[in-house]
Symmetry: C2
Subunit: 342 residues, 2 copies
């Protein structure tokens, strides 16, 4: 295992991507996102992802030097054209404008188009919540997941992320796929020759399977049956048709070059609780500000044994990685340092 400080992890990712053809701006934005994942112990979105970004260049239309373009679609909607580059720089371009509009108008949205989204969604909703906003984010992916009642892949793993600001503490954040499991977990089971749990997937004939290889050739299933499938469909619509961008199946069909990277849009809503909670209930049992009020709920929740707040595991890991850095397999370290040769 190789041990790196978080700064070293970020710089390694950035230099490797730049050596492979990414512009300095694109590489640095991606590397900052990767370093956040390493910081939070979110291995599958950390340095592990560097080869995925490099592989995305396989599509001839991918623009590793893309300069995202910010525009305004209305008084409460900002848009970033990712210009066929990658989502981290598009987000850095759009989030300050989204924050400004949400604070001015009470609610606003950010539309990101034409972008490869290989990262998680929690960094952007957390960023908005650090700035005092409530945030939700949605994106499609490639088609891996069967609809309710169906047997063939149609939806992506279609995450929905949510963040709530907390005074003096990291925001409460969740970021969850509409599928029962991440695709990477099935791949890990396949690598290790272990069966997957029931309910994760069906084989190519539509039969339930615990064989990870059969699952990868078949379709993943949504969490919670038809209710998770309704959420998967909602995410397709919000991150696809609502913003004029690709559905998961269209991202898959576009990827004739085996880049493996989901291409399309992301939709983010930001709400200012200082506006929405300003009138409030006439009941005197409601706290005077949204922050204090929410903490009362969290206290109630945590008073039940066996519970925890979503995202608390990531926050706990932060203290460790800040002190001790992060470790990655030697093979991954060698792959990434190999990229430095260009």
């Amino acid at each position: 295992m190789a041990t790196l400080s978080l700064d070293e992890a970020r710089d390694l990712a950035s230099k490797a991507l730049e050596a492979q053809g990414f512009s300095n701006e694109q590489a640095q934005a991606i590397a900052r996102t990767i370093a956040k994942a390493e910081r939070d112990g979110c291995e599958s979105h950390g340095l592990f992802r560097v080869p995925f970004y490099v592989k995305a260049l396989a599509h001839p239309q991918t623009n590793a030097k893309a300069r995202p373009v910010l525009s305004e679609l209305s008084s409460s909607i900002v848009r970033v054209d990712g210009a066929r580059g990658f989502c981290p720089l598009a987000l850095e371009t759009g989030l300050p404008a989204l924050e400004e509009k949400a604070k001015a108008n009470g609610i606003a949205a950010l539309v990101i188009n034409n972008s490869y989204n290989i990262a998680a969604l929690w960094p952007e909703v957390e960023e908005l919540a650090v700035r005092g906003l409530v945030a939700m984010a949605f994106t499609c992916a490639n088609a891996y997941v069967a609809p309710a009642g169906g047997t063939k892949p149609l939806y992506g793993t279609n995450p929905m992320a949510f963040a709530w600001p907390r005074r003096g503490k990291p925001p409460l954040v969740f970021d969850q796929a509409s599928s029962s499991s991440a695709r990477g977990e099935i791949q890990l089971h396949a690598r290790d020759g272990k069966p997957i749990p029931e309910g994760w997937a069906i084989d190519a004939e539509g039969n339930p399977t615990t064989d990870p290889e059969a699952a990868l050739l078949g379709a993943q299933l949504t969490f919670g049956g038809y209710k998770g499938a309704a959420i998967a469909l909602m995410v397709e619509l919000l991150a696809g048709a609502l913003i004029g961008d690709l559905f998961s199946y269209q991202s898959t069909e576009r990827d004739k070059f085996g880049s493996g990277a989901p291409f399309g849009g992301e939709f983010i809503i930001a709400i200012n609780p200082a506006t929405t909670a300003s009138a409030g209930s006439c009941e005197d049992i409601v706290a005077t500000d949204s922050n204090t009020h929410a903490e009362q709920l969290f206290e109630r929740l945590l008073s039940q044994e066996g519970t925890r707040l979503p995202g608390s595991r990531r926050v706990a890991v932060r203290e460790q990685t800040a002190a001790n850095g992060t470790t990655i397999p030697d093979s991954l370290y060698e792959t990434i340092t190999g990229y430095l040769q260009g």
Copy 2:
């Protein structure tokens, strides 16, 4: 069984409520909502609910003659103070203003405070989608549902509803509890003396149960385990702290008079796809308008045998009830006609 036309069902509900002390305005708005549920075969939100509305008057602060007050919290946020009345009239007061703001600004939200919400959420999101908007709605309820890892009620059944407009067709709509089942479903099982499926609830000691009476005394479970619980928590925050209104457990604590009715807020987001999709992807595989684009996804979905669109059952029932009316148990019919005596 008693058979009524939809107009008769609406008028019966309205007259019964007015005889019990509701203002004509409140009674008619509630009755319109009840008639929509009967129209769509949504029994648990139809005439079945009339006694719930009457029982809500048990709380001395309930205002059966409330006049909701519309105001503006910011350029994109409208608010309706339900004045301790019931949600249907608050919604009728706020939805036109929400529509106007969403169409002007691209995205807008409606905050409803101080209101009893005994109805489903699909009527309001469907109403917005009929007007061309994409809509999401959230509300808390009383504390009936255990958090992930816990055994005691904390969350409400906390529905999230979503609607997508379709040209020349009823909107695609879903409205799903974050609990495994609606509480009304358990109540119907209890009424009919039928066991509930496993996974719906735990008893007061925290043990899994299929006894609907034990379930009503214990706690319901979220759908899809911790992922459904994250959604339940999000709904508490959006319909509670974000809008300065009661959490589910606060609604329960407030209800010292056994009214049984959830009291608090509702949060609705409306988005104008004509704005958000106006720039769109540079890829020529994306249809030029969001409506056409979405229909491509629905076609793909329905091309898989065994699938259906969310809400399609309700839409199918409409044609039958329009022709044949709706039937309710004699006992319910007698209860409601009994209310007419005042």
